[in-house]
């Protein structure tokens, strides 16, 4: 125990002597939080749509008013010629253009069905789809309104009432912050510990330590403790800022979340140690740690893209990523308040034990 | 002061400061062509700084030096074409063939194609690697690497060759063979400027200087210095001067 403490103390000195790395370890999660929280906002809003109104009627003005009412779409101004349409699309002045044909109001009054043209920039397929749905809905609602004017108070035969559960406003932070916590913990743990172990191999100090009577497992544990503290701090910071700045909701108990998180942390550390037993240089350790933790966690855990939408092979892959299970738990606790996840808990415990025993076995006090 | 004719390397109160620290403090050296000059000194005495200045890699704070007659403060780039440099780290590419390393350095020094080819073949034989031209450099023993590095550093026929601890760690036979090559170069008129921690190697030099804390404490032929300071060998001379 004294030896473990000696190593941990030394590691703390290293961290304190290198304030720049410490700053990076703290700033990186915050940077990611801001990046995901603001820039890569998964909510769409303020999409510019241009209007070419050849009718100048009450109806056309009413549709534009309805369209911009929610803030989802903003009026990008009036367009007067076909040339302007093309130029505007190229310069990204607007994502879509509505064309109201000349005499639309008159045709309506005459009982004809005039055509409103809708042009959408398809280069961003997902956004284009959303804009199309939204604008179609606006026009459909207007249709019902017009029918009511003509036929009195009728009701549409079928009506769908949509309510988003757990995240009623579909707010992106509620989604991003738990995911980011998962990414940051595994990244900080695995990256920092593996680089710290590889550095001692690279500089030759590991050889010196190995010839002292300390047990190899104690070397690993001693080195890991300080980084564990940093990882806990980082995770706390992310959740705190998520709560204070982004008003993330918390349906469940913080303490139960902390308990699951600790288990996840343990898996992350074991993964970092496994990387470090295999990597001989800091550069290799860093590359492997990033490839093994950050990328799969970001891309395959269900953080950014739903697993069910992935190709089958990637789905299998997603199921061996620890973050997949942790994400299920942390999102569940924070958004639904459910506290008991026997399946995820079981898998995470198996993962932790497996990774820990493999890395301990691999890390021995011999060079060959 | 400008009488540099006839000297391969001459320095006049050459000084380099880093902040308030004076690494090289007004040293005066005069090395004749064809000499093997041993530039000795303790770790941190300022040897490396001095050599970097002479190779045109570092500008002097004060004073001047002439290398092959060229002032280093104003003609640093030209100086580089007149010198060869080999360090203990052997700047060889391990994943190239032996001959490719020679050819590469020929190219770096701007030799034309025909010259690169003839010079590489000639040097390969000179350093005793004629049957190893197509060997991967990484597979060479340390002694061979050292000789290859020497070959690379003289591909452009420099008048002055700087060797920075060239023989660290090689076996005694390889070391003697290496020195035979050095003698050959010197006998043909190349000036060799060498640093070493092997004091027995200091005895191989025609003249040596011993640097202590930025100053030149002694300069002369090994025999002459030993007699003057009444010591049996260079090791004792070195220790006496540094501890003084």
């Amino acid at each position: 125990m004294k030896r473990i403490l000696a190593l941990a103390r030394k590691e703390v000195l290293h961290i304190l002597r290198d304030p720049r790395s410490l700053a990076v370890a703290i700033a990186m999660p915050l940077g990611m939080l801001l990046l995901f929280g603001y820039a890569i906002d998964m909510e769409l809003r303020s999409l510019p749509v241009g209007v070419m109104d050849l009718d100048h009627s009450q109806t056309s003005r009413a549709i534009v008013r309805d369209m911009t009412a929610g803030g989802f779409i903003v009026d990008a101004g009036r367009i007067h010629s076909r040339d302007e349409v093309e130029r505007g699309f190229r310069r990204k002045k607007f994502l879509a253009v509505l064309v109201f044909p000349e005499g639309m109001d008159r045709d309506l009054a005459n009982g004809n069905s005039p055509t409103i043209q809708l042009m959408i920039d398809g280069s961003d397929a997902a956004t284009a789809q959303t804009v199309e749905n939204y604008l179609s809905a606006v026009i459909a609602r207007k249709n019902i309104e017009i029918l009511r004017e003509d036929l009195g108070d009728i009701k549409p035969p079928l009506e769908a009432r949509v309510r988003f559960l757990f995240n009623p406003e579909l707010r992106s932070p509620d989604f991003v912050v738990p995911g980011l916590t998962a990414v940051i913990m595994i990244m900080i743990c695995a990256l920092l510990t593996s680089v710290a172990v590889a550095r001692e191999k690279e500089t030759g100090t590991m050889e010196q330590i190995m010839t002292t009577p300390i047990k190899p497992s104690h070397v690993l544990i001693g080195k890991v403790i300080p980084y564990m503290v940093i990882a806990v701090l980082d995770a706390t910071l992310v959740l705190l800022i998520g709560r204070v700045v982004f008003h993330v909701q918390m349906a469940g108990s913080w303490w139960i979340l902390a308990a699951y998180s600790l288990l996840y942390l343990f898996i992350s550390l074991a993964l970092g140690l496994l990387v470090s037993t295999l990597a001989k240089t800091q550069q290799v350790a860093m590359t492997v740690a990033l490839v093994a933790t950050m990328l799969p966690t970001l891309l395959l855990s269900g953080f950014l893209f739903p697993i069910s939408g992935m190709p089958l092979v990637l789905q299998w892959f997603a199921h061996i990523i620890p973050a997949t299970y942790y994400l299920e738990v942390i999102r569940g606790i924070m958004l639904t308040g459910r506290h008991w996840y026997p399946f995820e808990l079981g898998i995470m415990i198996v993962m932790a034990l497996f990774l820990m025993s493999v890395s301990m076995r691999k890390f021995r006090s011999r060079l060959d | 002061m400008n009488d540099n004719n006839g000297y391969a390397v001459r320095t006049d109160k050459l000084t380099r400061r880093f902040g308030s620290f004076t690494a090289v403090d007004a040293i005066d050296l005069a090395v004749k062509p064809g000499e093997i000059f041993g530039f000795l000194g303790a770790n941190g005495a300022g040897k490396t700084t001095a050599i970097r200045m002479l190779c045109g890699l570092l500008a002097p704070t004060e004073g001047e030096a002439w290398v092959d007659g060229l002032p280093i403060s104003s003609k640093a780039e030209e100086v580089k074409r007149h010198i060869g440099y080999m360090s203990q780290k052997f700047s060889l590419y391990n994943d190239l063939h032996v001959i490719e390393n020679l050819e590469f350095y020929g190219g770096v020094y701007g030799l034309d194609k025909a010259e690169i080819r003839s010079r590489s073949t000639e040097l390969l034989a000179r350093v005793g690697l004629e049957d190893k031209g197509r060997t991967m450099t990484v597979d060479l023993s340390l002694g061979y690497k050292q000789r290859l590095a020497l070959g690379c550093s003289v591909i452009h026929r420099p008048n002055i060759l700087f060797l920075d601890e060239p023989t660290s760690g090689v076996d005694p036979i390889a070391r003697r063979q290496f020195w035979d090559l050095i003698y050959e170069l010197a006998d043909q008129g190349t000036t060799v400027f060498v640093t070493t921690h092997y004091m027995d190697e200091a005895e191989y030099c025609s003249r040596v200087s011993i640097m202590v804390a930025g100053h030149i404490e002694a300069m002369g032929a090994p025999e002459e210095l030993k007699t003057k300071h009444d010591v049996p060998d260079m090791q004792q001379l070195f220790i006496t001067l540094v501890n003084r």
Binding site: R3, K10, P213 | N43, F238, V242
Partner: protein, 314 residues
């Protein structure tokens, strides 16, 4: 009587072999050292010195052969061995961002040295290494010689019985090397057994006993005098102002069994019999060179033995 001999051994190595793939790093090494003895293993890079040192501290397992270190086997009793040795690897292996005293205390903690013992040992070690006034300096900011001394005292903090030093003076200037060897001698006089490797032939004279190592084998071992006696040839030193001409003259003799080496303004001529000596003297006198029969150095011996074995000089 036999028991007494047994206890007097610090280290016994028998028929040690170790290969890395195709490369045979050790090809049958036998060594026996006594307590309180400085035993030097001298050889160039690639001779197998580091592999041997690593096997002694249990960092590597030999393919063949066994090691008895203070009565323990480094392979099966790694822990016992490590508690009793101090090991200094070839590369500087302390933490450059920690201070002198922080490095020392870190190793004290790793060896579970008690507070009282640290309080007692630390000033003594700082004192004799003359690092006292640099206690707070970062290890990375020390000079080469001071780094080596710090590494040394870090291996001494737990008062080991045997020191294993792998090229401790590599790249260090002659003054620091001399100081380092003075410290080693003091330690040996206090009863510490020391195994030390070096590529510097001139350090051979400072060992009690030594072995010359080349290509994984010991060419010879014994006291420095015994080793130079293994030279088995005769040596003439030739001095002349025009040494180049003398050398060419000697080379032109084409006598088998004669080797000429140039050392600045001198030649060392190695030969075997009177007949050869006659020819050498005649040639040298012809050029007006001075001749003197000298005792061979360890390096002369090393070279002569290698050439005898027909070893390639690689």
């Amino acid at each position: 009587m036999i028991a007494e001999v047994e206890t007097k051994r610090a280290l016994t190595i028998r028929n040690l072999h170790k290969s890395f793939g195709e490369v045979q790093a050790l090809r049958g090494v036998d060594i026996q050292t006594k307590p309180g003895e400085i035993f030097g293993i001298i050889g160039p890079d690639g001779a197998g010195k580091t592999t041997l040192m690593r096997i002694l501290c249990g960092l590597m397992v030999p393919d063949v052969g066994d090691v008895d270190l203070l009565g323990f086997d480094p392979v099966t009793q790694t822990h016992e061995v490590r508690e009793r040795i101090g090991y200094m690897p070839q590369r500087f292996s302390l933490y450059p961002d920690l201070s002198v005293v922080e490095n020392l205390r870190f190793f004290a903690d790793l060896y579970l040295v008690s507070k009282e013992d640290v309080a007692q040992n630390e000033p003594r070690l700082m004192d004799f290494s003359r690092l006292q006034s640099f206690r707070k300096r970062k290890a990375g900011a020390l000079s080469g010689g001071m780094k080596q001394k710090l590494a040394l005292i870090c291996t001494l903090i737990h008062t080991p019985e045997l020191l294993i030093l792998d090229e401790p003076t590599f790249g260090v200037d002659p003054v620091s090397r001399q100081e380092f060897w003075t410290i080693l001698r003091d330690l040996a006089n206090d009863g510490l057994s020391i195994i030390v490797t070096t590529a510097y032939m001139d350090e051979a004279q400072l060992c009690d006993r030594l072995a010359l190592m080349h290509h994984g084998k010991l060419i010879t071992q014994g006291t420095p005098d015994e080793v130079t006696r293994a030279f088995g040839k005769r040596l003439l030193e030739v001095r002349s102002p025009d040494i180049l001409r003398v050398r060419r003259g000697l080379d032109a003799l084409h006598l088998p069994g004669i080797n000429v080496h140039r050392f600045g303004a001198r030649l060392h001529v190695v030969y075997e019999n009177d007949e050869q000596e006659e020819a050498i003297r005649l040639t040298c006198h012809g050029y007006g060179a001075e001749l003197e029969e000298i005792a061979p150095s360890v390096e002369d011996t090393f070279v002569a033995l290698l050439q005898d074995q027909g070893e390639e000089a690689v």
